[in-house]
């Protein structure tokens, strides 16, 4: 089991040697990354089988927690690890010339693996920052062909400022937690929630949530989304919107589920989630081009995920996880095929005639996004709303109303696009951009997965429920990571 640390180490290793390898053989350096990711996938699969329905902890450096860093492995983290490997493989920059970019992608995947595996607060911060730096780099280094090179840089810079400020907030939160408890191990923190339930502890959570929320497209701190997604290649947007945002969410919910299971924390997430949903949908409603629409729709979906996590206990994790996976598939797929639909929406007329398959795939995605039965999106939304209703409390009811209102607005703008796709072509419309066939293939694959999962709603949901039940339980977490509570156990 200890070898699972290779998930993080191998990509780092690859990142370090790629520049040197590239000096001798650029071809080899291009393939290093995918090979490493495939090895990682194999590792993940074998670990998935080995872990079974239980979980494992890896003590790095052989130091027993809480003094050392721990990796915690269960199906939840393995699931997301697998998604990371798959997603990075899908968006791997095959046509890039610079070997440093491959390094950055490897660093990004290493950081992502670290983020889902690590059970140490400061270690999470380090990986978060590594993810951030790699992201800035990838954004700045890979603008889309038509944009002046530097607008991606400018977007990246603006992103950097807010994200760094967010990181400082995150760091402040960590400092407060450490001052209060004297430990950074999340399991250890979970044993002493009593010292964290006051104003100081919760404000640490708020700082962490908002700090990490920058990456998670949380409401007030997501102004970068439109700028960044507007300037980078769509495959990269798929990666950022589909995956990277989820990783930041995972950081937040780790803290929430293990340490801060308190109503005030849930309410905080609920409020930012609601604001995110409504603001995202409303701005997307005014969007005149596909990318901007997808960007803001992504904000709204992340808001939905936050709302889901505001449901206490394993149910929140269950629904939130389903939402995350669904959004990963849908938004990832939409961004992957967005190059076929780029440009002002008025120019998309007649595309359905030109490429009925693409239009159909698009339709499948958006229908599921809207939550139309029998697509998986419907079941998730239904579960979300039913469970919100069970929570009671006025805020949750407001959240239901918000979600439903947002769905209506979402219908309005999405079908504005659908309507144009199915209109007759005229002189103004541009033919489909056929250059991105590989990402289109992946988009079709995503749609297929979505359709197949429609048939297996119940088993998938049961499986997710099991995973969530296991992963949302602080007891299992504590017992696994702190087998012997040798230190200052206050609980």
């Amino acid at each position: 089991m200890n070898s699972l640390v290779l998930l993080v180490v191998l990509p780092l290793f690859a990142a370090f040697i790629i520049p040197v390898v590239a000096k001798f053989s650029p071809k080899l350096s291009l393939f290093t990354g995918p090979v490493v990711l495939c090895i990682n996938l194999l590792l993940i699969m074998s670990a998935w089988i080995k872990v079974g329905s239980g979980s494992e902890a890896i003590f790095l450096g052989g130091f027993l927690p809480p003094v050392g860093i721990v990796f915690y492995i269960d199906h939840f983290s393995l699931l997301f690890s697998g998604l990371i490997a798959g997603m990075v493989l899908i968006v791997w920059p095959w046509d890039a010339k610079e070997s440093r970019l491959y390094s950055l992608y490897m660093l990004l995947s290493a950081a992502s693996f670290g983020l889902v595996l690590s059970a140490d607060l400061f270690n999470l911060y380090v990986f978060y920052e590594l993810l951030a730096v790699a992201t800035y780099g990838i954004i700045a280094a890979s603008p889309i062909s038509k944009v002046p090179n530097s607008s991606a840089t400018a977007a990246s810079l603006r992103y950097l400022f807010i994200s760094s400020a967010g990181s400082v907030m995150l760091l402040l939160g960590i400092a407060i937690i450490y001052t209060l408890t004297g430990t950074l191990n999340i399991a250890h923190l979970a044993t002493m929630t009593t010292s964290l339930d006051g104003f100081a502890g919760l404000s640490a959570f708020a700082l962490i949530a908002i700090g990490a929320g920058v990456k998670a497209e949380m409401f007030p701190v997501n102004s970068w989304v439109a700028e960044v997604y507007g300037t980078i290649p769509r495959q990269l947007s798929a990666l950022l919107a589909g995956l990277v945002s989820k990783l930041a969410v995972i950081l937040i919910i780790r803290m929430l589920l293990m340490v801060f299971q308190q109503q005030a924390a849930f309410d905080l997430l609920l409020v930012v989630g609601m604001l995110g949903v409504i603001s995202g949908e409303m701005v997307a409603w005014r969007a005149k081009d596909m990318i901007r629409m997808l960007s803001f729709s992504s904000i709204a979906q992340l808001g939905l995920i936050f709302i889901a996590f505001s449901i206490a206990g394993s149910k929140g994790l269950w629904i939130g996880m389903a939402l995350m996976l669904h959004h990963l598939l849908v938004k990832g797929g939409l961004f992957l095929m967005a190059d076929r639909f780029a440009g002002h929406m008025g120019k998309l007329k007649g595309l359905a005639k030109h490429s009925p398959m693409a239009a159909a795939v698009f339709l499948v995605f958006v229908l599921s996004l809207l939550g139309v039965p029998p697509f998986p999106g419907f079941w998730i939304k239904l579960l979300l709303i039913l469970n919100l209703a069970e929570q009671g409390g006025g805020l949750y009811h407001v959240a239901i109303a918000t979600i439903l209102l947002a769905t209506v607005i979402e219908t309005a703008y999405i079908f504005k696009f659908v309507r144009i796709l199915y209109q007759k072509a005229d002189a103004d419309s541009t033919p489909i951009n056929k250059n991105y066939s590989s990402s289109y293939t992946f988009a079709k694959l995503f749609a297929l997965i979505l359709l197949v999962s429609m048939l297996f709603v119940s088993p998938i949901s049961n499986h997710l429920k099991d995973i969530a039940n296991h992963s949302a339980s602080p007891h299992i977490y504590i017992n696994k990571i702190l087998p012997t509570k040798q230190l200052g156990d206050r609980s």
């Binding site: 400020a165 930012v272 409303m282 209506v408």
Partner: protein
């Protein structure tokens, strides 16, 4: 395997077959046969409509802890048979020459057939729903199926109105979802009977919210005020027989759910206890219904497009259905329910006549037609029967259902509602006369000199529907047992009926007599006319007197535009776009917030947002938690 399973299987096989073969010519012949088959399946289940047991489906789905099952009650059966007959008529109508012309004009005929069967499938699924979740799913299916049908028309307006429709439909679906969630959150069950139980347990405000949410959801589908704006254009722009089918039955799914949920489980007592002083929920709904009869009817009066005019009447007639059912007595609810069938029959027939006219002349603009009666006499006959039905004059079936509604309003002492209903009827008479006058009467245009009657493939369904209009008007007792079973199954008082109509202590109705007297009157009139007078001479249409002017074919003067100037002058200002204004102002409000949020997202200094977020979050926590020791 129960009968219901057989029905579902047949419908599903039809769906598969038509979608697989939709681009082949064979679908022309196949589709009517399949609808016939579905009809036979339904007829086999007809015992439910004569007081028999409910049909249960042996299929039930366990999805995510929710149990979904399906059933067919008398109510479902009643709506299903209307649906299938309307679909059969539409399929026959489009199977022949109309379909050929549609193909030649570049229409996607296969998609139209597919849309029709998808609609039938989803409606049967909705009608057969056995719990709230299957209801919701069926509900969404119906919305999307209608959407599919609407977007088939290539015009920009059609697509725009279809999108508008889907936004409305989604709003309704979301309202329905909230209502379902409210019910689920009380007892964690989605069975229908929970509605009633939960309702009694709720606080008054929750009850009010529940009823309003359900009503909004259903009202949007049915196009009741103030949610009526989407319907007319969307239906009118749907291609040919699709419009006939949608206009006949699609929006009546709202009526089905109103009966199923509000009438059956919330009931009169539930509605009456909600409200302040003399305005209770029943009054409110009744007035919604009354206004729905009036306002869309007078909007229809303004239209100069035949399909648009009919579609607006479709909206207006929905008001009668609700008005009847909301009275909760045996006569009124029978009227409301019966009006669904009656409306479906004549509305489909009327739409088909308009489509037939379009088939021959290429236009449905009332200002560009006229005098076609000599060219298309059978179509004229169908339209005449249809408009008499629509206007609710004896001896057609529209009269029976409206009579029941009026009778109920009278018995219940609702003079204002009564007047409102009559106002709707009178407006309808004016409007349908304009329709038939501008299409078939008056001067024949030069370019229509060679127009011929439409082929039999189109005439047969039209004539068949008009026979239904007449027969069910002449002998409403054919339908009334179904209505009685529906009333019994949803717990309403059951109407006492016989073949000619209803028995009622203080003045009943016997349509056989009424029709008989009317035809006797006509007979006497004809006697006086033909046997007492001399032989008349047929003259050419243009050979008429114009006070010194000679109106020839060069000087065409068919009085069609602004047909009722006096009336329009008087009431035109009253309804000039006030609902449009409402709709636009909602859009404006959303725009306002949208721009507001957009400006937030365009912050010059994003870190400011971070700061504000952090400060507000911390401050909220500070206020909430205080600074404990």
């Amino acid at each position: 395997m129960t009968f219901l399973d057989h029905l579902f299987i047949v419908v599903f096989i039809s769906l598969i077959a038509i979608s697989a073969l939709r681009n082949l010519r064979i679908v022309d012949k196949l589709a009517p046969v399949l609808y016939g088959l579905i009809l036979i399946m339904l007829v086999r289940m007809s015992s439910v409509a004569y007081g028999g047991d409910v049909y249960l489906s042996s299929v039930s789905l366990d999805l995510l802890d929710f149990k979904m099952h399906w059933q067919f009650t008398a109510l479902s059966w009643y709506f299903a048979i209307i649906t299938v007959v309307a679909a059969l008529a539409s399929a026959v109508f489009m199977s022949g020459d109309w379909g050929r012309q549609y193909r030649e004009q570049g229409g996607n005929y296969g998609m139209l057939q597919l849309a029709l069967i998808v609609n039938v499938f989803s409606m049967i699924l909705l009608l057969g729903s056995g719990d709230l979740l299957s209801l919701f799913i069926g509900w969404e299916f119906v919305s999307w199926a209608s959407f599919l049908m609407m977007v088939l028309s290539p015009t920009k307006l059609a697509k725009k109105s279809a999108v508008k429709y889907i936004v409305y439909a989604m709003t309704g679906a979301m309202a329905l979802m909230v209502a379902i969630v409210m019910i689920y959150s009380v007892n964690n069950s989605l069975e229908f009977k929970q509605i009633g139980e939960v309702f009694t347990q709720m606080s008054t405000s929750s009850q009010l919210a529940l009823v309003l949410l359900f009503f909004v959801a259903f009202a949007i589908k049915m196009g009741l005020l103030p949610f009526h704006l989407w319907q007319a254009i969307a239906y009118a722009e749907t291609p040919g027989p699709g419009a006939a089918f949608l206009g006949a039955i699609s929006s009546r799914m709202g009526m089905f759910t109103i009966v199923l949920v509000i009438v059956q489980f919330i009931g009169l007592g539930g509605l009456k206890q909600l409200g302040i002083s003399f305005v209770n929920m029943q009054t409110l709904l009744a007035w919604v219904a009354a206004l729905t009869t009036i306002i869309p009817t007078y909007i229809a009066l303004q239209q100069h497009d035949a399909k648009r005019l009919l579609a607006w009447h479709g909206v207006g007639q929905g008001g009668y259905m609700l008005l009847g059912i909301i009275m909760f007595d045996s006569i009124g609810s029978a009227g409301g329910l019966m009006h669904v069938l009656n409306h479906a029959s004549y509305q489909a027939a009327l739409f088909m006549t308009v489509v037939a006219v379009m088939y021959r002349t290429g236009t449905s603009d009332l200002n560009k037609l006229g005098g076609l009666v000599t060219q298309m006499p059978l179509t004229f006959l169908v339209m005449l029967i249809g408009i008499i039905g629509l206007a609710g004059l004896p001896p057609m079936n529209g009269f029976v259902s409206k009579w029941l509604v009026y009778r109920s309003l009278l018995v219940n002492g609702q003079p204002l509602l009564f007047v409102a209903a009559v106002l709707g009827t009178l407006g309808t008479i004016l409007s349908v006369y304009k329709l038939i006058h501008n299409t078939f009467l008056g001067q024949l245009r030069l370019e229509h000199q060679n127009v011929r009657e439409v082929p039999w493939s189109m005439l047969v369904p039209m004539l068949g529907l008009s026979i239904i209009v007449f027969i069910t008007g002449f002998m409403p007792g054919l339908i009334l047992p179904w209505i009685a079973s529906v009333q019994e199954s949803v717990g309403l008082p059951v109407i006492a009926h016989h073949l000619g109509g209803i028995e009622y202590a203080k003045g009943g109705l016997d349509m056989i007599w009424v029709s008989g007297i009317l035809f006797y009157g006509f007979g006497v009139g004809a006697l006086i006319f033909y046997f007492l007078g001399g032989k008349s001479k047929r003259v050419h249409q243009y050979d008429n007197y114009a006070g010194g002017h000679f109106l020839t074919s060069d000087v065409r003067y068919h009085y069609s535009n602004n047909f009722y100037p006096g009336l329009m002058h008087l009431i035109g200002g009253w309804y000039r776009g006030s609902f449009k204004w409402l709709e636009n102002s909602i859009v404006s409000v959303v725009s306002f917030f949208s721009i507001f949020f957009e400006n937030i997202y365009r912050a010059k200094q994003p870190v400011m947002l971070l700061l504000i977020g952090v400060v507000l979050a911390l401050f909220a926590l500070y206020r909430n938690l205080g600074v404990g020791a």
